[in-house]
């Protein structure tokens, strides 16, 4: 695309520029979208892109075949992915060696490379078009759906898809109050965790006295295993930026800041590039599109502590202080960054803003449930067949997400629980699988929406051990200022650990519950206030499992090492000696061709013998 000669000065300039981009795009006959998301990049997709680029150049096709290196396309497990359009032909597990064939067969001859097509593991069917693949088809990818249609480094791609038209429309025809009224009508709620209505938050920011205000995009995303914000920032940074600029205009801020963790280098790079390109063409800076509105955006890179995602801690981090929360009030809308009125919004929340204004509040609020509108991106991980990011209408049931999109539990095992809401969310049992994923339903069940983490567990997960895992994470991540949070989490962990070792006593469950309730009530910020959820929800739904550990000194899932033992069944063992050789503790004894035995005193219960035995003679009890 030719460089723009001068900054765009009016909405009409923008439309002329867009028309030029589209005209240029008409000359393209084919597009190759190579996934540059985390999973595919790890599988070497950059090399595939380079090979394709070389090969296209050698065949003289560079002018009419466009090559894009995109954000995450969603089916990370099958990566590296390449989509060829027209036709949205979906190639999976592509290697650099396939590059030439894709060009020769598919681009030039219009034929499929059969071996690269996707076969669904559940129904065994082969799919050609990305739009037909069950995992993607059952989603509503309003936010993620454009990822394969655009190169995050290219503002032209975003403009070609109609990007920044909403911003231009706002600057040209709406004042801040009108934009806020539309957001209120859409009932958009924050996607960063607390689910606060965005329209109300913006109204507070707008009404706060002061001529210097800030709007901050929270891209700290500290939940382990969560990557929805990362994916948006990496795959479609301009959609987040457009939301941020509209927010700045609506509340009357002159400056926006994107706070992103250093562990996301690609996101940092892409958002910086997006800001630079938007400045160049005149969508950021002074007098944007002749509206008189000045707005600048900078990037602040954080050290990546979980707690610094909390808004008041984040503001301290942006100011260069230690990222520790403070008590509110004063609310940030009154006293935020540099003591000025400040609005903080999550990445996904901001990406929803242009969408709402484009679709219109009525169509938008047609998606979702009565109290929870729009879509939500979940990071579906754990023991399901299809893991990855899934974007669904709010209110879809857990069962639909896990079974229909996730493809059910791996290896034909039984579903046991799903943890929603990240480390301080809750664990829900099979009896609640028909629960809709809306803010209220999840909190009433003792969990939360959080930022959209969803970890699926099968029968081999011990719920006490799981509570232990999350407590250990939160103990590390608590800033440590509040006594109730610091000492409370450490003590809950101590008690849960004692239970997993079989060293606890019956009254301890009640004490644990009592302590968990106080940590929740007495702590200052959201971290402490939610830290008890993993304990309380597992106690609520899996109490018998705690009791098994406590009373019977038994771990039903066979996870807690101190409560399990291994035994060799003499009737099955043929004395092959494989387990004896593999045991790192030297605990297996026995003569060749005679049944072996495990010496309990030496056994460290690592389970290697069980994995080694080909005859099923080793039993875990």
């Amino acid at each position: 695309m030719e460089a723009l000669q001068a900054r765009l000065k009016t909405p009409a300039d923008l439309e002329r520029y867009r028309a030029a981009i589209k005209a240029k795009q008409e000359t393209i006959t084919h597009r190759l979208s190579v996934c540059g998301g985390t999973g595919c990049a790890g599988g070497g997709s950059a090399r595939i892109r380079d090979y394709l680029q070389d090969y296209l150049a050698r065949r003289g096709l560079s002018a009419r075949v466009a090559l894009r290196f995109t954000g995450c396309l969603g089916l990370c497990e099958r990566g590296p992915l390449v989509i060829v359009s027209p036709g949205e032909i979906f190639y999976q597990k592509v290697t650099a060696a396939d590059a030439a064939e894709i060009v020769d067969q598919t681009v030039l001859k219009g034929e499929l490379v059969e071996r690269l097509l996707y076969t669904d593991p559940l129904n065994g069917e082969k799919y050609v078009s990305a739009n037909e693949i069950p995992f993607l088809k059952k989603q509503s990818r309003f936010l993620l759906g454009d990822n394969w249609r655009l190169d995050p480094a290219s503002i032209e791609d975003y403009l070609g898809l109609g990007g920044y038209a909403v911003l231009a429309g706002c600057l040209d025809g709406l004042n801040g109050a009108e934009i806020i009224a539309r957001l209120k009508a859409s009932r958009l709620r924050g996607r960063g965790g607390a689910g606060f209505p965005t329209g109300i938050k913006w109204a507070e920011g707008r009404e706060a006295p002061g001529d210097q205000k800030y709007i901050i995009c929270n891209a700290d995303e500290g939940d382990p295993g969560a990557f929805m914000d990362r994916s948006l920032m990496e795959g479609n940074p301009h959609s987040v930026l457009e939301g941020l600029i509209i927010g700045g205009y609506a509340i009357g801020a002159g400056e926006g800041i994107v706070f992103v963790r250093a562990e996301y280098p690609t996101a940092v790079k892409n958002i910086r590039l997006a800001i630079a390109r938007a400045e160049e063409v005149g969508l950021l800076g002074e007098d944007i599109l002749g509206s008189g509105f000045d707005f600048r955006v900078s990037v602040s890179v954080g050290a990546g502590a979980f707690v610094s995602g909390e808004t008041s801690a984040l503001i301290r981090a942006v100011e260069g202080q230690v990222g520790e929360p403070r008590q509110k009030p004063p609310h940030l809308a009154q006293q935020g960054l540099w003591k000025k009125p400040t609005v903080v919004n999550n990445v996904e929340t901001l990406a929803n803003v242009p969408l709402i204004l484009r679709l219109g509040t009525e169509s938008y609020s047609g998606i979702g449930t009565a109290s929870s509108k729009g879509t939500k991106i979940f990071s579906l991980v754990g023991k399901v067949n299809n893991t990855g990011l899934v974007e669904v209408p709010l209110g879809m049931t857990l069962r639909e997400i896990i079974d229909d999109i996730g493809g059910g539990i791996k290896g034909g095992k039984r579903f046991k629980a799903v943890q929603t809401g990240g480390p301080s969310g809750g664990c829900l049992p099979a009896s609640l699988l028909d629960l809709p994923t809306d803010y209220e339903a999840l909190s009433e069940a003792g969990s939360m929406m959080g930022s959209g983490g969803m970890i699926v567990m099968d029968e081999e997960t011990c719920m006490v051990d799981l509570a232990r895992y999350f407590l250990a994470f939160l103990k590390e991540e608590s800033c440590g200022a509040c006594f109730s949070c610091r000492e409370g989490i450490a003590r809950m962990l101590e008690m849960v650990e004692a239970i997993t070792r079989g060293e606890s006593s019956p009254g301890q469950l009640e004490l644990l519950e009592e302590l968990a309730a106080v940590v929740k009530e007495a702590s200052m910020c959201g971290l402490g206030q939610t830290a008890s959820n993993p304990v309380l929800s597992t106690l609520r739904y899996f109490r018998e499992e705690y009791l098994a550990h406590l009373v019977d000194r038994r771990c039903p899932a066979g996870v807690c090492r101190d409560l399990i033992s291994f035994r060799i069944e003499a009737g099955i063992c043929n004395g092959c000696g494989a387990c004896r050789k593999s045991c790192p503790a030297g605990a297996v004894e026995g003569k060749k061709k005679e049944p072996h035995r495990i010496a309990a005193a030496l056994c460290t219960r690592c389970g290697i013998c069980l994995e080694t035995c080909r005859y099923g003679a080793v039993l875990k009890e």
């Binding site: 004063p330 103990k475 006594f483």
Partner: protein, 224 residues
């Protein structure tokens, strides 16, 4: 002035003040460990919790850091507050039993047992010393280091700071190591004995007034 309701009383108090200051002004006693009138409030010990908001939608907040607000409904001694306060004191005893201040507060709140594993730490990270050093002495010789369970009070590079003028303010203001008590016997963290260090007991002083409640001496004799 700001009008609000505290424990059912309509009160008016200076704008910008904290709920704790207002409560104390009206003679309502709220326990604190990390608060000192001369220092910026820090909200770390959580003992000063009070319940704010209309019944049914109320929550607990630290009164030392919460500003008085028009129309706010505050309850300083509700069942919810006392329950949390007592459990926190039990946790303090389980963590740092050698502080006389903590022992006294526990006694006063009838915390008579510790159900958690006993630890013997010296510091409760209330931050009084670091704030004293920074705000009163402009020293910044000590500060909080580390996060979460690793958090502790330290100086830069763990060396004695050039900024330290040996004023001793840090140990003067410390509620954990200052006026350290002899400590309870090893079996239990609950002591309460210091209440009787010099008891104005009627046994010894016929014309003294007995006002101790609870009085450990009486309790031990089984007279109450």
């Amino acid at each position: 002035m700001v009008n609000l309701t505290m424990n059912g009383l309509e009160i008016a108090f200076e704008k910008g003040a904290s709920l704790l200051e207002a409560a104390r002004f009206f003679g309502i006693e709220i326990p604190t460990l990390c608060y000192n009138e001369g220092l910026n409030p820090y909200g770390a010990c959580r003992l000063c919790l009070v319940e704010v908001g209309a019944p049914g939608r109320s929550r607990l907040v630290s009164s030392c850091t919460y500003p008085v607000q028009p129309g706010l409904i505050v309850r300083t001694h509700s069942a919810r507050v006392l329950k949390a306060r007592r459990l926190l004191l039990e946790l303090y005893l389980a963590t740092c039993p050698s502080s006389k201040i903590i022992q006294d507060l526990a006694s006063k709140h009838h915390v008579t047992r510790v159900r958690f594993k006993q630890k013997n730490e010296e510091c409760i990270l209330c931050g009084l010393c670091t704030r004293y050093c920074a705000e009163q002495m402009h020293g910044h010789a000590i500060g909080m280091v580390g996060r979460g369970a690793e958090r502790r009070i330290g100086s830069a590079f763990n060396k004695k700071s050039e900024d330290c003028r040996l004023c001793g303010g840090c140990s003067y203001i410390c509620p954990a190591c200052q006026a350290r008590c002899q400590g309870p016997d090893e079996k239990s963290a609950v002591c309460g004995a210091c209440l009787n260090l010099a008891p104005p007991c009627l046994d010894d002083h016929d014309d003294a007034m007995c006002y101790l409640d609870p009085c450990a001496a009486c309790e031990m004799r089984g007279e109450r």
